[in-house]
């Protein structure tokens, strides 16, 4: 394969890298005044990169033609699906940011820092590489590019101690996770003699030695850290609460998609011949995430913290699709990811619209009491997102649970599915508490401020997707997810 073909395959990443470098220079000379134009340009670059994905996504891509740079990267339908989702989430994170940084709560005098969109861009490049990695080296490169930009993003409010604390915690724990992952990779390299996914897979056939098993477990643990699955979830509530809200919205969507895609690729393409070795681990993580994500959320007062636990809970359901260990499960997982991203973006957009007269942001249960009287549109949208997250039909969140559980039961894991779905009722408790506070309680009357057009657009779009009308999307969504999942298994 010549380099021209490889470059053609990674054109979206090239666009993003180029745009990131140019905008970095603009930011260096233009200063924070240029923040808003840079954000628009970054969103445009992400959109262009997304457009470049469409033809291949539509026709489907698999086989050797998708390998780039001698097998270091693999741009198949699976990677394309994940990338499209990542870019959309990144655009949303850019759209909701300026209004947040202008608010007095952010404590910045000059509004959004010009670095914010640039960091989002570089992070997106990293996530793209993660999604299409087919070698442990590219995997680590992508992961670290994403992680390093994320640490900075978490701490971007330099005068806010909570933000700094979030950045530091994220950095220390993230570095630990990277170390665990790296150690696992080195073990696998030592026992199989390669870093390419195909080489490691070939070395893992037949009876697996204890050393290789440790490698598998360390790699999975490192990845579990990145997707914040229980028992490696401890950093999530603190980081989500401390980080600026648009950054939290970003963390709970795009990097989650990338890390889940990466995990799926590793377990299927690398450990695909050793399902017995990892299936129980993933099943445990799935159940534990569902249960602890739900229990942890119950006592929370802060809405961001609550959504952090909610994301842990959702990761549990996503892992359910992974635990099934077949193409149906992978497809269900991708459908779940899409719907989860829509619900998360919508919830965070709504959270950012909880503003006082002077633009102060509110983020606790006490503040949203009686929201349905004072701001009915936001309250109804939040009601939809919460019931959707709880998986109550006819909202689209039900469909995401539907596909995942269907795959679980069809694969014969009936008891596992029954326990998981029973545990999901615990989660419903705090989602309906949201509705109770907004609809049943007397108004607190602090949320009176107006919100910008960008927020309304995002809220409207995501609410439309989550509404029953979103079911009309399901045939094409399922089609794309099936193609993506098939490409993941075709390689094996």
């Amino acid at each position: 394969m010549d380099f021209a073909a490889s470059f053609a395959l990674v054109l979206p990443e090239l666009v993003l890298t180029g745009a990131g470098l140019v905008l970095l220079l603009v930011a260096a000379w233009g200063g924070d005044k240029a923040g808003r134009p840079i954000a628009i340009a970054a969103a445009a670059a992400l959109f262009a990169a997304g457009i470049l994905l469409v033809p291949a996504l539509h026709t489907g891509a698999d086989g050797p033609a998708t390998l780039a740079f001698g097998g270091l990267m693999k741009i198949d339908s699976f990677a394309l699906f994940a990338k499209a989702l990542i870019y959309l989430a990144a655009i949303a994170a850019l759209m909701i940011a300026p209004a947040f940084f202008d608010s007095p709560s952010a404590g910045t005098e000059r509004g959004m820092r010009a670095e914010y969109p640039v960091l989002i861009l570089f992070s997106s490049v990293g996530m793209s590489i993660m999604a299409s990695a087919s070698d442990f080296m590219t995997l680590y490169l992508g992961l670290e590019l994403t992680s390093l930009t994320s640490y900075v993003l978490a701490a971007i409010l330099r005068r806010d101690t909570r933000s700094g604390e979030a950045g530091l915690k994220y950095f220390v724990l993230g570095a630990l996770a990277s170390g665990i992952l790296l150690y696992g990779m080195s073990l696998l390299y030592g026992f199989t003699g390669g870093t390419a996914f195909t080489a490691v897979r070939a070395g893992l056939t037949g009876e697996m030695g204890t050393g290789a098993l440790f490698g598998v477990i360390f790699v999975l643990s490192g990845l579990a850290f990145k997707i914040s699955a229980v028992p490696f979830h401890m950093w999530t509530p603190d980081v989500y609460e401390g980080a600026p809200t648009p950054v939290t919205a970003f963390f709970s969507t795009a990097p989650k998609v990338a890390a889940v895609a990466l995990t799926a690729r590793v377990v299927f393409e690398v450990f695909g011949a050793q399902v017995a070795a990892w299936q129980q681990i993933v099943m445990f993580m799935a159940l534990a995430s569902i249960i602890f994500g739900a229990l942890g959320a119950i006592g929370q007062e802060n809405l961001k913290r609550l959504l952090a636990y909610s994301s842990i809970n959702n990761i549990g359901f996503i892992l359910l699709g992974l635990a099934v260990a077949n193409a149906d499960g992978a497809s269900a997982m991708l459908v779940y990811l899409f719907i989860y991203v829509a619900m998360s973006i919508g919830s965070f957009a709504a959270l950012l619209m909880l503003r006082g007269e002077d633009g102060t942001l509110y983020e606790t249960f006490a503040d949203i009491r009686g929201l349905s009287v004072t701001r009915p549109a936001i309250a109804w949208a939040l009601l939809m997102f919460m019931f959707s997250l709880a998986g109550i039909p006819p909202l689209l969140g039900f469909y995401s649970k539907f596909v995942v559980f269907q795959a679980t039961i069809e694969a014969g894991l009936v008891a596992f599915g029954a326990i998981a779905i029973a545990a999901s009722v615990i989660g419903a408790f705090y989602y309906i508490k949201f509705v109770k506070v907004m609809f049943f309680d007397e108004p607190a009357g602090v949320i009176t401020g107006k919100s910008g057009a960008a927020h309304w657009v995002l809220l409207g779009l995501t609410a439309l997707i989550v509404s029953p009308l979103g079911y009309l999307l399901t045939p094409s969504l399922t089609d794309l997810a099936d193609k993506a999942a098939a490409s993941l298994f075709l390689a094996v």
């Binding site: 039909p393 006819p394 039900f398 559980f405 309906i432 049943f440 045939p475 089609d479």
Partner: protein, 521 residues
């Protein structure tokens, strides 16, 4: 009528009304809601009049592959038709019942009710297993809001309890549905009703469905959400809960548990009988000591629904027909009783029985209606309650005389608590000044009560109108169940029939015409 998707239309009208209500002011919302429910009712009447008795089992079928994983498949048989009629009949009455009593957030309230109507029609008309589940489960959202926003003092607790109880019951059913669809390869309900699942799997599937329907019906000991939800809900909310939502459980048994898992149904019938017998006796006794009118009627609902489950699991035609009629009758009667409570609650703002008394003196028309519905609840011949309870108990007698014996005490106890309630509210002296000053029912309340009273009498005097559309479907169900039906203990031995009627007169050859004349006298 050919080609007109009348079922979809019946769901579209209230849906459009719901959206319109959300965006309109209080008085406009009331009129929109009333208009939408009346139009839906008219469509329902058209549905009934175009339903061919003795025609194909599934009529008005619609199919559209709109979604991935399941399809938009609608269609009804006689059983679904009757329950849809019950829903669309009660709906305008619910709107009227809330006309003056609901004053805050009227638009949202009416929208919630109309949305509820869409879901109820959808639940009864769904022909796809997952579509059924979507409609079945989605009802939680509007009902949660109705109880929580417009309910009484303890509404938050009641709304949580209602939501979590019913959700927990339903999710296990969903797992069972996935298993069934994976095994049978289709989610089409008519096909699944004929599909033979292996007996070992049926046990688990039946239990999973039972978890959901037993909560919805509700059966003792899973009934505790019901008194809370009923008491705290606004009047119209109670009417819908008692009138239609409880029927979802019974409908689930008759549509899913019995035809899809006949062997497991026979195997677990003892459980249903045991729980029903406890429910009949226990909740009737609990009803006897209530001092809150709504709570009393709520507990009586549990007792009546236990007669339904007993009839359903009798595995014969009388039992099934009786159960269906009890469901329809209970939908009307308990709805009407809640309306009766609502009428005086609107005037005095208390449900405490002791605060009333002697209402027959100052509210004679009210007392008349209340008496009629009380008698229908007891099961007086001539009212709908009698027909249903008689058939259901006759059915169960063939299967188990012990269950019949215990269940029949429910009628006696029912008479006790209902007459005791009526005596304290309507008869006796006017002990309370303010209760004595209440005015009789208004024209709006007449419009709510009179149609239900007419329907109760119609069903009591000529139940054939309601039984005829269901006859073929119940016969089909009975045929499906007959292989699995347990041996009854009634030991019905057909004796030698008499040669003559018991009152035949001795007569001689040749005088036949004169004796025939005498007999005619």
């Amino acid at each position: 009528m050919e080609g007109l998707p009348i079922l979809s239309l019946m769901m579209l009208v209230p849906l459009a009304g719901a959206v319109a209500c959300l965006f309109s002011g209080a008085s406009a919302a009331r009129w929109i809601a009333l208009g939408a429910t009346l139009v839906t009712f008219v469509l329902g009447v058209m549905l009934w009049s175009n339903y061919q008795i003795g025609g194909p089992q599934w009529q008005f079928t619609e199919r559209a592959a709109l979604f991935a994983g399941f399809s938009w498949a609608l269609g009804i048989d006689g059983i679904a038709l009757m329950l849809i009629m019950l829903s669309v009949f009660l709906m305008p009455i619910c709107i009227l019942a809330s006309w003056d009593s609901v004053t805050k957030r009227v638009g949202e309230y009416m929208a919630a009710f109309l949305f509820m109507e869409v879901l109820m029609i959808g639940t009864f008309a769904a022909q796809d297993l997952f579509l059924f589940y979507v409609f079945f489960e989605a009802g939680l959202i509007p009902m949660y809001l109705i109880i929580g926003v417009w309910g009484g003092d303890n509404r938050i607790y009641a709304s949580y309890k209602f939501f979590l109880y019913t959700l927990f019951g339903s999710v296990l059913m969903l797992i069972a549905m996935f298993w069934m669809v994976a095994a049978a390869g289709t989610s089409d309900i008519p096909t699944l009703m004929q599909y033979g699942f292996p007996a070992s799997a049926q046990t688990w599937l039946w239990l999973a469905f039972f978890a959901s329907f037993a909560v919805k019906v509700p059966m003792w000991p899973l009934h505790t959400w019901l008194p809370d939800a009923h008491v705290q809900a606004p009047t119209a909310g109670s009417v819908i809960l008692a009138g239609v939502l409880l029927k979802l459980g019974g409908y689930g048994f008759i549509r899913f548990s019995l035809p899809m898992f006949p062997e497991a149904s026979a195997e677990w019938a003892w459980l249903v009988f045991a729980l029903s017998m406890i429910a009949v006796v226990y909740t009737s006794l609990v009803a006897l000591v209530q001092s809150d009118m709504k709570k009393l009627i709520a507990y009586s609902s549990v007792a009546h629904m236990a007669i339904v489950t007993v009839g359903l699991f009798a595995f014969n035609v009388q039992g099934l027909e009786g159960a269906m009629i009890v469901m329809l009758s209970h939908g009307l009667v308990s709805g009407a009783l809640f309306l009766c409570v609502g009428v005086i609650y609107d005037r005095l703002h208390t449900r405490e029985i002791a605060r009333y008394g002697g209402l027959a003196i100052n509210m004679p028309y009210y007392a008349l209606f209340f008496l009629l519905f009380t008698m229908a609840s007891i099961g007086l011949p001539g009212t709908s309650g009698f027909v249903g309870e008689f058939l259901a108990l006759a059915g169960i007698y063939q299967t188990s005389s012990l269950v019949a014996l215990v269940s029949t005490t429910g009628i006696i106890l029912g008479a006790a608590y209902m007459l005791y309630l009526y005596r304290r509210v309507a008869f006796g002296g006017q002990v309370n000044e303010d209760a004595a000053a209440m005015s009789d029912i208004s024209a709006r309340e007449w419009a709510m009560m009179a149609p239900i009273a007419a329907a109760v009498l119609w069903m009591g005097v000529y139940p054939e109108s309601f039984l005829a559309p269901m006859r073929a479907d119940i016969a089909a169900l009975d045929a499906r169940l007959s292989a699995a039906a347990p041996v009854g203990d009634a030991r019905l031995a057909p004796g030698a029939p008499r040669e003559h009627a018991a009152n035949a007169m001795e007569h001689h050859e040749g005088s036949e015409t004169s004796s025939a004349k005498e007999g005619a006298h």
